[in-house]
């Protein structure tokens, strides 16, 4: 997989090389074994395609959710543990909006606000899906992005801005506080417990025959992958070709120098939170769309995997977050060939720790784009 690549890049890095070599050998052995399984027919091409497709979906969600994290990491130099709960907030706000668009008149306001929850609300009657109710989905996506952006800025004003001169660790601790307060305020307001969102049976899907089996691709999965791809592309354009992007990259590189050069750093920080928050909210909405359910711990449960994606790609690199997300997503699904489901996440975390040890700058290391 990716380890061999880093093996070549790390020449000259001294003591880490033996470890890199071992990893490269392990990765190569796994790939060979995979090829052998395919050749011997123990692993059908259809199930392999299934792993790859599921991995891509997961990867795009981790990647999109990670872009916002990577942005704030590079500009403000701290690991934001409240990021996961921004994902949750985005998903909740977006889906409440979508419920209102699709269900006003048919259901009581209180049921719509709670996404069902303690009130009875039949999601099949509501009939939310990308093909049935495209308007509701689009409105939900926009609301999710907008509200999460505002929330991110509000949190920055309240918590992080007064602490600009403090160390990354202090900010990290504060962000843990934000994560706790935010998540349990949501629980207090809307009550815990998972909610069904979409009308499962009404969502169209297509079946592609592969080898002896077939692969089913749902409309919501495609929506997630396509919209996430477009949003990442848009982020790339903003970072690469606008003055704002240049300012952000300059600030990530050296904040003092950026300020001396006349870059209004506070305004860049504000824009970073807006942009990062919007992407995070959209990610939350899309992940919930693809899963069809939503719980209050959605973001927190994803947080470490998002961190894994961001670290794998090199902390602070937006492109790295995308690549890291896809690598984590695909390799975690692919590892089902060797591992039981319950240990897949364990393997993903082990990969993350190993990358941090062997190559803290990530597999895309050195390319700090934002």
């Amino acid at each position: 997989m990716t380890e061999q690549e880093s093996g070549w890049r790390l020449i000259g890095a001294g003591g880490t090389r033996p470890l890199v070599l071992i990893l490269a050998v392990v990765a190569l052995a796994l790939l060979t074994h995979l090829g052998w399984l395919l050749y011997a027919g123990d692993l059908g091409t259809a199930s392999l395609a299934g792993y790859l497709w599921e991995g891509t979906i997961l990867g795009m969600s981790y990647g999109l959710a990670g872009v916002g994290l990577a942005m704030t990491y590079s500009i403000l130099s701290f690991a934001n543990f409240a990021h996961g709960d921004l994902v949750t907030s985005g998903a909740l706000s977006g889906w409440i909006a979508a419920f209102f668009v699709a269900g006003t008149g048919d259901f009581s306001i209180r049921a719509l606000v709670h996404l069902g929850g303690p009130y009875s609300l039949n999601t099949n009657t509501l009939g939310l899906s990308v093909t049935n109710t495209p308007l509701a989905i689009v409105v939900g996506l926009i609301v999710a992005a907008a509200l999460t952006a505002l929330l991110a800025v509000a949190i920055d004003r309240l918590v992080f801005r007064p602490m600009r001169d403090q160390s990354g660790i202090s900010l990290l601790i504060a962000s843990v506080g934000v994560a706790l307060a935010l998540r349990y305020l949501l629980v207090f307001a809307l009550q815990a417990g998972p909610r069904g969102l979409t009308a499962g049976q009404q969502t169209p899907s297509m079946t592609v025959p592969i080898g002896a089996g077939s692969l089913t691709i749902g409309a919501h999965e495609i929506t997630l992958v396509v919209v996430a791809g477009l949003l990442m592309l848009a982020t790339h354009v903003v970072l690469r070709y606008t003055k704002l992007g240049t300012a952000m990259r300059a600030m990530a590189d050296n904040e003092d120098l950026a300020r001396v050069t006349g870059i209004p750093t506070e305004r860049v920080v504000l824009t970073t939170w807006l942009l990062g928050g919007a992407l995070t909210g959209a990610a939350g909405f899309l992940i919930a769309l693809e899963r069809g359910t939503l719980s209050m711990s959605l973001g927190w449960d994803l947080l470490l995997l998002i961190f894994a994606a961001v670290i794998l790609g090199g902390i602070g690199s937006v492109y790295g977050a995308i690549v890291g997300g896809v690598v984590i997503g695909i390799s975690s699904r692919l590892s089902l060939v060797w591992l039981p489901e319950s240990l897949v996440v364990v393997a993903a975390f082990l990969v993350m720790i190993t990358v941090l040890l062997v190559r803290p700058s990530g597999i895309m290391g050195g390319v700090r784009t934002a």
């Binding site: 209180r110 160390s167 902390i315």
Partner: protein, 445 residues
């Protein structure tokens, strides 16, 4: 803590008392701890009386406060070695507790359990658990030496989650090594060895209805004479055992803190480059400090869960690590005495406090039935009726949620405004002799 210098003249009597208290307390940390313990017990006795508990209930409340305070005190002391002394940012506390408890369980649980252990004597199990936590700590120290603080945070959190998810995995629910059957119980959790206190007081400690032995008879009869049930006596003996452990750990860490080893750790915290320039092998010191902290976390976990006789992976969610962190920050990182006080303040006031507030309010004010949702509660505000909102906030589930919100807010407040902890600047200095005057030091905070 006390009134400022510009307090109104009418309060001078109270002010003088506060000054006397402050003078009493500032003589030694032992006095500070004593005054604090008396205040805490006084407060909770009062709360129990207000709640109308009988004598047994009051004693049981105090037992629970003692138990939790002692557990958190050990955990905070352990974390203080890593963060307060060596500056290593470990947010995997729950994972180190988990490996300690599970190793102990797998070594010492009876072979007849649904998820069997090896049935070894308990002391061996405890020792094994502490050792396992130490070994994992040594492994974790590997990244600790190479990584920046925030990377280390992520690595330790991931490590804790790896431990938790591995124990939770159905793969290890029941497995056999050679001919030996073992099991972690997966998501069902596993039973631990019998609470060691029962072996002190009962003839057949493993049986539920066993008659007490001679010692148990004497103690239970005496307690019954003043209206205390046997279960409360057992709990108190366990809690007192924990207090002794806290004392031992406190003493150990005071010694460590004032030894050359501790001074080097503090020097590393202040400036690692300088410490290295002075010829100290900072890597070795950091590894030792990290492993020592992890060993104590394993011990704390074991002592915590042994009392309930059962362990499951939900007891090691990352939130438990953050509890310990809040407690450490309350007490002030870098201070041994502060750690003990922080642990007790967290456990009794922040963690248990909201529930007592709920009980007192619902006991004295009739707020009526709680509405189903916040939506309904807020809708009632339209007709200027606050009670539904109060009732909703005070329901069992919502107090738990609000308690965690409070925790988050306290964490943010402390790190923004009082990063040195509630007691003010108490960080122990690196030099063997405190060159600053204690009063002057407290005055500038």
């Amino acid at each position: 803590m006390s009134d400022g210098p510009d307090r109104p003249a009418g309060q001078s009597r109270r002010g003088a008392a506060a000054d006397r208290l402050r003078a009493f307390v500032s003589v030694s940390d032992a006095r500070l701890l004593l005054v604090f313990a008396v205040a805490l017990y006084g407060l909770f006795t009062l709360v129990s009386v207000v709640l109308g508990y009988n004598f047994n209930g009051i004693v049981d409340t105090l037992r629970r406060i003692t138990f939790l305070s002692a557990i958190y005190a050990v955990l905070v002391l352990a974390l203080n070695v890593q963060w307060g002394y060596a500056g290593l940012f470990n947010i995997g506390v729950a994972g180190f507790m988990a490996i300690g408890v599970y190793t102990m369980g797998m070594l010492s649980s009876p072979t007849t359990n649904t998820f069997p252990g090896l049935g070894l004597p308990l002391p061996i199990g405890i020792l094994g658990g502490v050792l396992a936590a130490t070994v994992l700590g040594l492994l974790a120290a590997l990244p600790a030496l190479r990584l920046r603080g925030d990377y280390l945070a992520i690595v330790t959190l991931a490590m804790a989650e790896i431990v938790r998810r591995t124990y939770r995995s159905p793969v290890f629910q029941e497995f056999s090594l050679g001919s030996v059957q073992l099991g972690t119980g997966g998501s069902r959790g596993m039973n631990l060895p019998e609470n060691p206190i029962r072996t002190l007081f009962y003839q057949n400690p493993t049986e539920v209805g066993s008659p007490p032995n001679a010692l148990g008879n004497v103690l239970f009869d005496t307690a019954a004479a003043i209206g205390i049930q046997p279960s409360v006596v057992e709990g108190w003996v366990y809690a007192l055992g924990l207090v002794i452990v806290v004392g031992g750990v406190y003493w150990l860490l005071q010694r460590v803190g004032h030894s050359p080893f501790g001074r080097v750790l503090k020097a590393i915290r202040e400036d690692e480059v300088v410490a290295r320039a002075l010829g100290k092998d900072t890597r070795a010191f950091k590894i030792k400090a990290f492993a020592l902290g992890c060993a104590l976390m394993g011990l704390a976990g074991i002592l915590w869960r042994l009392s309930g006789g059962y362990v499951s992976t939900t007891m090691f969610q990352p939130i438990y690590t953050f509890y310990v962190f809040v407690a450490l920050i309350i007490g002030g990182a870098g201070s041994t005495t502060g750690s003990v006080i922080g642990g007790a303040v967290f456990a009794s006031l922040l963690f248990e406090g909201p529930n007592f507030v709920r009980r007192i309010v619902t006991g004295y004010v009739d707020v009526g039935a709680a509405p189903n949702t916040l939506f309904d509660a807020v809708a009632a505000l339209g007709s200027l009726d606050v009670t539904p909102l109060v009732a909703y906030s005070l329901s069992d589930v919502n107090v738990s949620a609000l308690r965690l919100v409070l925790l988050g807010v306290v964490l943010i407040y402390l790190i923004q405004n009082r990063p040195e902890g509630l007691l003010g600047h108490r960080k122990e200095v690196a030099s063997p002799i405190d060159l600053t005057d204690r009063d002057a030091r407290e005055g500038d905070s």
